[in-house]
């Protein structure tokens, strides 16, 4: 796909139209579509959601830009609706949660490998092992609460075993921070960080929204616990963004990020209907980028090439199982901890995190209790010998 971020015009904003019927199209099949189709749907919902969040923040800070921002957000609101409504209503909130964690694992693993900056890549691998553990804990909950196998959702692409235990993810806020990328970092580096902060944001918001809808008290606790970690991840990834970028620079990166993401989706989509949707939205985003470039030039009097380089699209996310990479990271880095912005051996973890953890886990750990002796098995753990049944027989 030959895209140039400096020159391609896409579809002009005033030609980006929607109807309610089109926005609420046919959902994907939970059973028949490839798991990576759902991964793309979940991620792109997060990307659109964060793009709107960025613009709403900009709207609060800039009077002259408001009309343009409102125009961009109208299109993006409806793009996000098209995407989010692709998830069929037969996904229970817990099944969708499994999908969210698969996104976090597979997308983060791909980005960690694409990232040229060693520190940034380490930051991705660190949070990757935490989301990897969340999948295991939620898989235990899905099995034990709803009697379902998480692998019906993840379709064999993603391992379901413990990672860095969720129990130890809880850190003091000062140890949640990371170093930002340099202002002149490679464009890909900027897009990677923005993509992952977008993904974590929507995951956190999803857990905060659906956690209280569960009746089961342990499910309610598990969502509370993991939502707290996702909140930490938003800070972790959010800190990777450069705080010295101007508002319009952030807008430009945001639009470039959407182009970059839709291009990877369009290239790799196996469902023809969705492939057409990704291609259409890729053209829409090029239209948005064109407007962002214009504003950057007119308002800041700066050349978009300062941010977008030669306009070439950095290599995109690979939508395929990252199993072998994740296993290597797990073997090598599961014992790492945080101290300030540094990744350190377990023995050097920031002491305020230990104190914080002692307090917050004082009444028990939801993630530990839900997954006690949980061993993922195809078809759920009831396929294994059930001790309760054994007792009845005896």
């Amino acid at each position: 796909m030959n895209i140039n971020l400096l020159h391609d015009k896409g579809i002009a904003l005033d030609r980006q139209r929607f109807t309610w019927k089109e926005m609420v199209g046919k959902p994907i099949s939970k059973l028949d579509d490839d798991a990576f189709t759902r991964v793309r749907v979940v991620l792109m919902n997060g990307i659109e959601s964060d793009s709107i969040r960025t613009k709403q923040t900009a709207l609060r800070m800039n009077l002259p830009l408001r009309e343009k921002l409102a125009q961009l957000m109208r299109a993006e609101q409806h793009q996000e609706t098209c995407i989010n409504w692709l998830l069929g209503p037969d996904h229970s909130p817990l099944e969708t949660t499994i999908a969210y964690e698969q996104v976090a694992i597979e997308v983060t693993a791909s980005i960690a490998q694409l990232e040229p900056d060693a520190y940034q890549s380490q930051s991705y691998r660190y949070a990757l092992l935490e989301d990897f553990d969340h999948l295991y804990r939620y898989a235990a909950l899905l099995d034990r609460l709803e009697g379902k196998d998480a692998n019906n959702i993840t379709q064999g692409y993603t391992d379901i075993i413990p990672g860095r235990p969720t129990l130890v993810h809880h850190r003091a806020p000062e140890h949640e921070l990371t170093e930002p990328y340099a202002r002149d970092a490679a464009l890909g580096t900027k897009l990677h960080a923005l993509t992952l902060v977008s993904g974590e944001y929507q995951t956190h918001d999803y857990y905060m929204h659906f956690g209280p809808t569960f009746a089961d008290p342990v499910a309610r606790q598990l969502y509370a616990e993991i939502a707290s970690v996702e909140s930490q991840h938003i800070t972790h990834y959010g800190c990777m963004l450069n705080p010295e970028e101007s508002l319009l620079e952030k807008l430009l990166i945001c639009e470039a990020n959407e182009v970059w993401n839709y291009a990877a989706c369009a290239q790799q989509e196996s469902n023809p209907r969705l492939k057409a949707l990704w291609e259409r939205f890729l053209d829409y985003e090029l239209g948005h980028l064109q407007l962002a470039r214009q504003l950057f030039q007119d308002v800041e009097r700066r050349d978009p090439a300062e941010v977008l380089g030669d306009g070439a699209l950095p290599p995109g996310i690979r939508y395929e199982s990252q199993r072998e990479y994740v296993r290597r990271v797990l073997a090598d880095e599961v014992s790492l901890r945080k101290n300030g912005t540094r990744f350190v051996p377990e023995s050097e973890e920031g002491t305020s995190s230990l104190a914080y953890r002692e307090g917050i886990n004082a009444d028990g750990s939801p993630s530990e209790m839900v997954s006690a002796a949980f061993h993922w098995t195809a078809g759920t753990e009831l396929v294994r010998k059930d001790p309760r049944q054994e007792r009845l027989r005896a």
Partner: protein, 268 residues
């Protein structure tokens, strides 16, 4: 609406044998065979349940004045609050049931427009189902008319219960705890029937759960009415029960008919 058939279902472990055997080997390595037990989680759940507050309360009678004789004050034995709670539950269930039948009528129309014969007259389906005892005279009416009639009977049950509650000094617009819980339980049925992708047979399967529950609900309410010394109400409720028994028989027989006679059509 499309028929249910073999296709590219990707959910099973056998769809990706190499991947899943690799996953299983890793899971074996990461978590050695151990006794499956969740005593800490179980204890936590027991503690939550022990400490939990009620879903809510039953609304007290609006006024005891003027309704004392016919109203809750006349209830004997048992706890009047339980009777009112269950009346509220049936009322809410019948009201939701009316909406469920409206959704089922749409599903029936969609099946017809997708090229299926959809449902036969109830009489034909009842004849075809071995073991079903026909409770009423054969229903030769058009299936849509049957669906509308059942829908209207659910509505009439809702209205009848509203009148009962009103006469007893209760508030038929209030949501009682059991009404709330019944709404949660019915939520999944509503999701199935209103999903445009589900077939008529899948919707009928969900409706069968609703109707069997409804039938048992009326049986219970009739007993409760006698327990609290309200034989007139018990007679009324028995009339509703007979209609619900007919609903169960019709839904069961339609479902059996579709699965055995209409396989491969959009309705199944």
């Amino acid at each position: 609406m499309q028929s249910t058939r073999f296709g590219a279902n990707r959910t099973g472990a056998r769809m990706s044998p190499l991947n899943t055997s690799s996953m299983a080997a890793l899971a074996d390595e990461a978590s050695p065979e151990t006794h499956i037990g969740t005593p800490v989680m179980d204890a936590a759940k027991v503690a939550f349940a022990t400490e939990a507050e009620a879903i809510g309360s039953v609304p007290p009678p609006l006024s005891l004045k003027g309704v004392a004789k016919a109203g809750m004050a006349a209830l004997k034995g048992g706890a009047p609050s339980v009777f009112v709670d269950k009346l509220g539950e049936r009322l809410a269930f019948e009201r939701s049931g009316t909406r469920l039948y409206e959704a089922l009528i749409i599903k029936h129309q969609a099946a017809q427009q997708s090229g299926s014969e959809a449902l036969p007259p109830a009489a034909e389906a009842l004849e075809a189902l071995p073991g079903v005892r026909v409770l009423l005279e054969m229903l030769a009416e058009d299936p849509l008319a049957t669906l509308m009639r059942i829908r209207n009977e659910e509505l009439a049950h809702f209205q009848m219960l509203g009148d009962c509650l009103q006469r007893m000094g209760g508030d038929p617009t209030a949501m009682t705890p059991s009404a709330d819980v019944a709404g949660v339980a019915t939520g999944g049925i509503l999701q199935v029937v209103t999903d445009p992708r589900t077939t008529l047979a899948q919707a009928l399967t969900a409706m069968l759960s609703a109707e069997v529950t409804d039938q048992a609900g009326w049986e219970l309410l009739e007993i409760l009415a006698r327990d609290v010394g309200q034989p007139d109400l018990a007679t009324l409720f028995h009339g509703a029960l007979e209609q619900e028994q007919e609903h169960v028989a019709i839904i069961r027989s339609w479902l059996a008919y579709l699965l055995s006679r209409e396989a491969g059509t959009a309705a199944v």
